[in-house]
Symmetry: C2
Subunit: 170 residues, 2 copies
DNA sequence: CAATAATTTCAATAAAAAATGAAGTCCCGG
DNA sequence: CCGGGACTTCATTTTTTATTGAAATTATTG
């Protein structure tokens, strides 16, 4: 059976252009901020500047990332609405395009990270209020003051969120 | 040479109260959001509900964390303004108190994470504009449009930050 | 000033997170 | 329906990040 020449480590798909590299680095940095792994930033960065839809294997070979990373990264990006699959006639593969609406990331972050944590925090605060019931009056007073602070802060955050969202989305 | 009885894993300092546990878990979760390690959340959580200043070794033994983690965590928290060292008469050790102003974390995050990344992103965008100079007019047009989007979004974010800060700080 | 307690630092280790790629699943076109 | 490409999953490995604790440094105090 014939075998292609051994794949050199640095061979990969077409080299990335400088433009692509800048875009990719930019998104790696930004998405890291909201806790997304490097590979996701790479994929989105590449798609962001791509002049046409890219298939998964193109993404893999351009970025030198594994099948699994490409598949999972695209899944996440699709889930968040930051990438769309498009139909390309005469090609069996899915092709992907970046949604240029950056607010998708902010929205997803707020919905998936911030909100749940705030909810959880409110539960804990309620629990803390209960617990402070059996304390000496003195301790109780001090504790309640702190809890009030926490609540106040959370409420402030909660009030701000819709405003931020509206502002970001357009 | 005499040896103390073997230290049991679960021995440690005075057990944490339920209240302390709730507070600690809450802050672990919140601070994780802005990329701070668990130990930092633990320390802040403990200090937040503590009725009096705590020395580093008390923190260590209550939380069962190492000398290094305690020292580094406190250093970080002090750096961010979330914890203050107080003088306790007749005690050689430093004692620490939580600053209840939660906005300290938001401020630090914006200053230390968000702002630098935005600056860096703007640099990259400038570079991208340069690079798009030698492209076919068609490609160039499409690329410039994307770059405009990026800029627009960054500017929007930049305008929003001071507002958010003002809102959070009181 | 010693003596020693308190704290910081940092190389080594452990824990957590991300990437890999082989095995399995799901089509689509003949 | 079956053959094979496209994709997904997930156990394993790699990489990154956090924690540990011993050694070095910096006070404090008798």
């Amino acid at each position: 059976m014939l075998e292609k020449s051994i794949t050199l480590p640095e061979e990969a798909g077409k080299e990335l252009s400088e433009l692509e590299i800048e875009a990719i680095q930019m998104f790696i940095n930004f998405l890291k901020l909201i806790g997304l792994p490097k590979s996701v930033g790479e994929i989105y960065g590449l798609l962001f500047v791509a002049p046409k839809p890219l298939a998964m294997d193109e993404i893999m070979s351009r970025l030198n990332i594994s099948l699994g990373a490409a598949s999972q990264g695209l899944k996440l990006l699709r889930g968040v609405g930051a990438v769309k699959a498009t139909y390309v006639p005469g090609d069996r593969r899915d092709h992907y395009v970046a949604d240029l609406e950056l607010s998708k990331f902010a929205t997803a972050f707020i919905k998936e990270e911030l909100h749940p944590r705030m909810e959880r925090a409110l539960e804990r605060i309620r629990r803390m209020e209960q617990l402070s019931a059996d304390m000496t009056p003195e301790q109780r007073k001090a504790t309640m003051m702190k809890i009030e602070r926490l609540k106040h802060w959370l409420e402030k955050g909660n009030k701000m969120l819709p405003w931020i969202l509206k502002f970001l989305v357009r």
